[in-house]
């Protein structure tokens, strides 16, 4: 009798009862898509790296026994590292200016970061080709000044410049999110206690903004590891990154096993780094919430 009261809902809520009890059912459609179009392909690649053409670790021992592969792997890390460093150096003052600017100026600064972001990545890379090429804008200027022309395109420097611009929003946004929360009066307080302004910055402001730096740097670094288009168009043989090798193995040489092994190495590097870095990012500033 009174037991009936423990039953959940009236007839009207019956259709929603399942969802009400288990709201995660709503995630199911998205999850199915992710399993079919993300998980199955990744598993296929991982599987092929171990069984194609013959079962075993052949593809991995091939990768690690060929110097060229190791050079490219190392270079991928080095370029990503420099891109991350440049992003931090460029984004830090910029995000700081955003955090202290008035609403109107802030909007303009945000737009400047985001506008390139909204323009086709391929077209943007094309613009860098036009600017950096041997007959490009920068070299015309350099020659006009009376210097020798610089080698920018097809070098690691060119690739770094292009990638830094593409990845900058991912650095600026988390930094800005953190800096906006920092009470500037803390610096004033430090100064009033006799700290030199520069010292006050390093002792007070910088440590407080570090979670933003770590969050931004992590997402920039792992995105840089997998970059493909920019290094391809702006780079040359001396700046090939791992993604290009993967593409060559699979599309040109039809060697799914070796390409797959490289892909797995790239995946492991990405997630390994993410796992290493996550303790340094406080929960509040996780990459997913702050990056966009």
């Amino acid at each position: 009798m009174s037991n009936s009261n423990t039953k959940p809902d009236g007839a009207a809520r019956l259709g929603w009862a399942g969802v009400r009890r288990h709201p995660l059912l709503l995630v199911l459609p998205a999850l199915v898509l992710l399993i079919l179009i993300m998980a199955v392909p990744l598993i296929t690649i991982i599987a092929r790296s171990f069984i194609d053409p013959v079962p075993g670790l052949g593809n991995y021992s091939w990768f690690f026994s060929h110097k060229l592969n190791l050079i490219v792997l190392w270079r991928t890390f080095v370029i990503s590292f420099w891109v991350t460093i440049s992003c931090v150096l460029v984004a830090y003052p910029y995000a700081f200016a955003m955090s202290v600017a008035g609403p109107r100026l802030r909007l303009i600064l945000v737009l400047c970061v985001l506008v390139p972001f909204w323009v086709s990545g391929v077209v943007r890379t094309l613009a860098w080709v036009i600017i950096l090429q041997d007959t490009g804008v920068i070299n015309q200027f350099v020659i006009w000044l009376g210097f020798d022309k610089l080698s920018l395109i097809r070098t690691q420097l060119g690739v770094t410049i292009g990638m830094t611009q593409v990845l900058l929003p991912f650095m600026v946004m988390p930094l800005f999110a953190v800096m906006r929360g920092i009470d500037l009066r803390l610096i004033e307080a430090a100064k009033s206690l006799g700290s030199h302004p520069v010292k006050a910055f390093f002792q007070v402001y910088l440590p407080l903004s570090l979670p933003g730096v770590f969050a931004g740097a992590t997402i920039v670094f792992i995105l840089a590891l997998g970059f493909y288009i920019t290094p391809l168009l702006l780079g040359g043989p001396s700046s090939t990154m791992l993604s290009t090798l993967v593409q060559q193995q699979v599309m040109s040489l039809l060697n799914w096993g070796r390409g797959g092994a490289m892909g797995v190495i790239l995946l492991v590097a990405t997630f390994g780094f993410l796992a290493l870095a996550s303790p340094f990012m406080r929960r509040k500033y996780d990459i997913s919430g702050g990056s966009k």
């Binding site: 200016a97 323009v119 600017i131 490009g136 966009k292």
Partner: protein, 263 residues
């Protein structure tokens, strides 16, 4: 003196950075009016031939139509799936919800080429290479995280007690969702939808692998053109998309500020 100098320094640095962010993109605009077929800056002469070429060459405008079709369907599909998922995660809270959220966001992190060869491998077996369905499925997967993030952000500031209030006023759960929840998280849904559209419209890596002569998306066409020859049509396309996005963002800002004022 001591107070002014750092300000000037910071201002100068920011102007330079802003210039470095925006100027390269603007370079393509004069290129699109070039007279000769070359990508040397500054271009000489003035002509509209590359715009004409874009709209008369079936390969070019055909790929625009493919891209628009795919991006529109992706925007709808990703928004529906992503919004449902975000609501589910917000309702459930707890540990498993957090894990699911992390899973839904992974497509952002997976290196593009790895994702691309995987999808290519699966599509070869399922005959999805170069099909509209193939593009739509892949792009929807890639766009999902942005919808989940945008809608999730809206939901986290949405006051769920309003739904309780709606129920007390006679609204069924469904009715409360459509009259109260949906209008209030709409900004998040719309920005998620915009992100989804742009993600698809811009996507090049996966598309490069699963493309076919029958159905090529615009970014793939641009990429092919850049690697093959110095065709300024690319600059025309770039200028057009730049113009389109500027208009969309400008309109969005206008609506946004007007809304902000009326409330």
């Amino acid at each position: 003196m001591r107070r002014i100098l750092p300000r000037i320094l910071l201002g100068t640095i920011c102007v330079l950075i802003a210039l470095w962010l925006v100027a390269p993109t603007l370079v393509v605009v004069p290129m699109s009016f070039a007279e000769q077929k070359s990508l040397v800056f500054p271009p000489s002469g003035f002509s509209l031939q590359w715009y004409e070429n874009f709209f008369t060459n079936k390969q070019w405008y055909g790929s625009l139509i493919v891209s628009l079709k795919v991006a529109l369907i992706v925007a709808l599909l990703a928004t529906v799936l992503g919004t449902l998922a975000a609501i589910g995660i917000e309702r459930a809270k707890g540990r498993s919800a957090g894990i699911l959220r992390a899973i839904l966001i992974t497509p952002i992190i997976i290196p593009g080429v790895v994702m691309a060869i995987g999808i290519y491998a699966v599509y070869l077996d399922t005959r999805l290479v170069g099909t509209l369905t193939g593009y739509v499925l892949a792009h929807t997967m890639l766009a999902l995280p942005f919808v989940v993030i945008a809608v999730g952000a809206s939901l986290s500031v949405f006051d769920a007690r309003l739904e309780t209030a709606a129920a007390s006023l006679g609204a069924s759960r469904l009715s409360a969702f459509f009259t109260v929840t949906l209008p209030l998280i709409l900004p998040g849904i719309l920005s998620g939808m915009l992100f989804a559209f742009v993600t698809s419209f811009d996507e090049v890596i996966v598309s490069l692998f699963i493309t076919s002569p029958q159905a090529t998306t615009l970014p793939v066409r641009i990429f092919a053109s850049i690697t093959r020859d110095s065709d300024p049509t690319v600059a025309a396309v770039g200028s057009l998309t730049f113009l389109a996005t500027t208009i969309i963002i400008g309109a969005g800002l206008l609506v946004g500020t007007r809304r902000g004022r009326s409330k």
